[in-house]
Structures are given as C-alpha cells and as structure tokens.
Amino acid sequence: MLTDRIPMVIIIFSLVIAFLLPIFARWKRSLCGPIVAVVTGFSFFFSLFLLYDVHRGGSYSIYLGGFEPPWGIELHINLLAALMIALITGFCFLIAIYSLNSLEREIPDQKAGWYYTAYLLLMTGMTGMVVTNDIFNLYVFLEIVGLASCALIIAKGTKEATEASLKYLLLATIGSGFIVFAIGFLYTITGNLNIPFIAIELEGTRDSFPFVIWTTMGFLLVGFSLKAALFPLHIWLPDAHSSAPFPSSALLSGLVVKIYIMAFFKILYGVFGPGILAEMNIAGLITGMSAMAIVAGSIFAFTQKDLKRRLAYSTVSQVGYIFLGLSLGTPWGIKAALMHVVVHAFMKVCLFMAAGNILFQTGKRNVTLFSGLGRIMPVTMASFTVAALSMVGIPIFAGFITKYALAMGSIEAGSRGLVALIVLSGLLNAMYYLPIIWQAYFTGNQKEKVVMDRIPLPLLAPVVLLACGILYLGLFPAPILSLISGAVEPVFFP
C-alpha cells in the first residue's frame, strides 16, 4: 500500500528540503518562503490522507530498513499519531503562510534561508517524535526539535533573543541529559529500546529493580517537565517565547511544548503501563504540579504588561491543563487533555498572530495602550476576541468544551476540588484577557470611523481562519471528540 510510506515521506522530504534551502537562498532568496509553504502544504495534504486511511484501516508499523523490532527502529502509526501529524503539518502550513509576509519585518534578510531550515527541521523532529516507537530514536528527534527551536528564537538576532535562546538551550540540554540517562536505565534493566518490548521485559523484572524504576521515573519527570515547561521548571519559557519572532512564538507555544508532553506520556503509558504507574503514584505528583501551574501561570500572566509575555505566561498555565488531564488517567481526563492540545494550538497560534498584526500595524506591544484598536483593525481584533473568549472558557467557543471535559474527568477521578480549580482558572484567565478586549472596543474616541485593517492578506487570512476554526470546534465538537476518543482508547486503555 502506498499510504504506508507517508510518515517517512513527510520526514525525509522535509529534511532534504531543509538542507537545500540555504543553498537555494544564495540564488533566489525571495522564493524560500513560498517553497516552504508548498512543502508544508503538501505534507498537510498527505497527512490528511494518512489520517483518513488510519481512521478507516487501523494502525500499522513501519520497520526501517526492513529490520524487525527489537533489532530495528519501528515507526508506529496509530490514530493518535496520525492526528498529531495532521495537527503539526497543518499548523506549520498556516504559520508558513503567515511568515511569507511577517518574516521580512523581523529577521535580517540574509538569515531567511537558515530560518526556514530550522523551521522544516522542527517539523521533521516533531513528526518523528510522534511516530517513533524506539526511545533512543525519540531522543534524537527530541534533540533536533530542541536545537531547531533555539535557532528559531535566536533568528531575530537581538540581545534579548540571544539571551533567552542561550538560557533555553542550557536548560533544555539539562532536560535531555536527564531523559537520555533515564533511557540508559531502562536499557540496563530490560536490554531493549523498543517501547512494547521494554514493557514486556519490565513485567518480569519490575520486582527486582524498584529503585531503578523510581529513578527512571524521576529523571523522566524532571527532563520532560523542563522541556515542556511544567510550572516550577517553566523559567525559560516566558523569555524564549516573548523574544522570538512572531511565527516562531506561535509555533513554539502552540505546538512544540505539547509534543514533549505527548512523548512523555507515550513513554509513561507505553513502558510502565497503568499497573506500575498506580503503584508508584507519580500521577498524584504531576496533578499537584499542574494545579500549581494553572494558578501560578495565570497570576504571572496578569502581572505582565507586554502582550507577548502575557501570552507566554498564559501558555505556562495551559500546559498545566494538559498535564492535569493526562495525569488524572480517566477516559474523560485524557480526552480533555488531547482536545486541549488541539484547541490550545488553535487559540494560542491565533492570539500570537493577532498580536503580531497589532505590532506590525500600530507598533504597540504594551496592553495598556490598546484603546480604540477595535476601530482601526476590526478583523484582527475580532479574531483576537474570539480566541481570548475561548481561552476564558465562554460557551459556544472551543475552550469551553475542553474545560467541561476536564471537569468531567476530575469528577470521574473523584477529586471535586479540581472542578473548583478549573472554574477559578477560568476567572483568572478572564482577569487578564477581558481588559484587553474592553480597552480595544469601549475606550478611546467612540466617534472615530471603523476602517479596514491596513495589513496584507497573508497576515490576515490565517488569523481569521483560526478564529473560524475555534467557533466551529466550539459549536460542533462531536466529530473531533469522537475522533479523539477513537485515538485515546487503544493507547491509554488497551
């Protein structure tokens, strides 16, 4: 079957194009952006095809080089992986269209080719992390993603970007050090690198090595929390995401942190299984950390005046939601977490792009200066409002669906206190999003005529499209929810 090879085609094709782009940029720099848009667009098209195929035909594995596991590397494509690939390539496509016009406003012209190299490498790495079933291969893809995201941040070349990027690189490398050490421990006690084979070996040897399993879990938790910015270890995220160029911020905040979370839970559930997890009670610890993340991220966001920093801190609290849902371990909790991965990508990418449009037209980043913005850029502000209200969790917007599902999950897990926490966090979100909207529409000169935004179409179209997507997901959540339940069942509740 031809569709068997689609994940490999996406990975290898974008990898090859990534390294050809700098050479191509020497010859014709202006064509780099359109080429990347075409490459990501094709990947998105193929991944939709893959999603349809996996949805209909079930999951399958690819053995690289024809070597079967446990010897060779296995790529396992189930519905969850296909869904994540579609999400990754779709958003890379949208952000590539956005960067067609926004990149030249922020990045020195001669760096454009290299920027797109890092961009495509990031897409390759994320796709690889989602599909691979070999933990050392996962580590390699993880490093590709880490280095490429640092490159995307530093591309702007300013003092702040360089500083934030170095901080991110150092902390992310500590994180991946912990992860690779944990992989070493797993290899020592099981002799395998393939996730299902490790799980089988671990069934027999778990009683002999309780301390090693403890240490492995601790190292994995520290490593992935550093990478995914779970609350006490989030310190790099606000600097990194606020000093990066707008397309990079959108990509990093909307997708990259969540791919790390998915990889973490893929290892936790795939390797240890629900039995050991319940015995070690690591989920309780993660629930506590994510509850802190939700509250603290919102409070930090409230204190920020810079719009980008506010959005970055908001990501810290939204990462908390995803960790919370996954750590609850109930069907609704995990569904809510995956739904939030999808919905938060829509919302945060939309918000960052709208923030970019506001900066490009008016030069304003400080949220206290936004009065009357609803009249001079109505389309952007309308989209911003849709995304922000969805963040708060108002019904008919997509954010409400995930909050509702998360509340269902906490009731299922028997912890009613978390429902109060979710309501509280909705109020905290309202505290830092609503003043922006209020200022934009109801302050300033009310007599002023409403005019159209003065920004080109490639910057405007993705924002509007994402806002429509948020409304669609909020009004008709049934198809995506049923797709997600189909994706969750075989992975988390076999």
Partner: protein, 122 residues
C-alpha cells in the same frame, strides 16, 4: 536498611562515578556565573552519560565487537551502547558548538560572559 557492601560498591564503581559526574555537571551549569564554565559543565554532564552507557555495555574480558569469521566463539562486548553513544557525542558536539556561538554573540553585545554582569547591564 541493608549494611553497606564494599564489594557491591567496587563492582558498580563506574555507575557511581557517572552519577557523581552527572550531578557535578548539573551543579556547574546551574550555579557557575561564567557562561563558558556553564558549557564546560554541560559537557561534564554529557560525558557522564556516555560513561554510563559504555559501562552498561562492557563485559569483563570481552573482545572489541568486530566479528571475524575465522575465530568463532569469542566473547564480545555489547556494541549497541557504543553505537548509541556515537549519536550522543554528535548531539553533544552540536549543542556545545551552538552554545559557544551564542556566547560569542552575547559577548559582542555586552562585552562580558558573566551572568551577574549581564543582569546588571539590562
């Protein structure tokens, strides 16, 4: 609590060294104010991981894993961790190069590689 077994300690000597080096490297990255020293700490940390992997793959008395059909029945050390660490070295090398390049450009901006002085200048 079991009593300390000296022979167990001696048999697992490389593992203890690698954990010690890992913790030291981690501490250096987090606490040293000098950026170059931070990068050195990062390298110490990653070298500790390499040591751990190589120690895992080692079999005492094993020959290098180069298969010669003429001499059968030789005990080889496990080649897989060595292959993995080859990848690890490449990753560590590129991270170090990237970090040093960033430090150079920070030095061009601020004229210092000390974190405390960087903070003052902001």
């Amino acid at each position: 609590m079991r009593e300390l077994d000296v022979f167990m300690l001696l048999a697992n000597f490389p593992y203890f060294v690698s954990i010690l080096l890992f913790s030291m490297g981690c501490l250096i990255v987090l606490t040293q104010p000098n950026l170059i020293k931070k990068v050195i700490g990062l390298n110490v940390m990653e070298t500790a991981i390499f040591l751990f992997f190589i120690a895992v793959g080692n079999i005492s008395g094993g020959a290098p894993p180069i298969v010669n059909p003429a001499t059968g029945g030789v005990l080889y050390v496990n080649p897989l961790p060595q292959a993995l660490i080859l990848t690890g070295i490449v990753v560590s090398f590129s991270v170090t190069a990237f970090a040093l390049a960033m430090i150079v450009s920070l030095y061009r901006f601020y004229g210092t590689v000390h974190v405390s002085e960087l903070m003052k200048m902001r």
